[in-house]
Symmetry: C2
Subunit: 80 residues, 2 copies
Amino acid sequence: MKAKVHVTLKRGVLDPQGKAIEHALGTLGFTGVDDVRVGKVIEVELQETDAAAARKSVEEMCRKLLANTVIEDYAIELTA
Amino acid sequence: MKAKVHVTLKRGVLDPQGKAIEHALGTLGFTGVDDVRVGKVIEVELQETDAAAARKSVEEMCRKLLANTVIEDYAIELTA
């Protein structure tokens, strides 16, 4: 079973990496870019075959390691 | 119009960040993790309202700045 964990900064949290990209795009001549935000995708390959158990395990991974829940949100997507 | 750009390392390219996460998960007691890979998601908010023009522009952004096409693949997802 494969889990895709999307980790994004919460709304309102400053994203310097995004701002740097936005600025660089402007420098390269791209106009009409209003905002850029950067997030992470962590793909975890699990031996677990039960979707409910896999989700529970990945939830715990997110809380303990993958996301900083003070400033980040996470979303889990499971595929067979 | 909003574009989500998924940037992932190509198959076969070593992912040290993923390996570090895999190791840390093991240390935390998570068993049954076969592989971990880490990618980026860049969300770009565009003024452009035409989907075809937006895709063309974002493709160019990917080639010029957002992805290193030697070692990374990118996928573009557009939403209104």
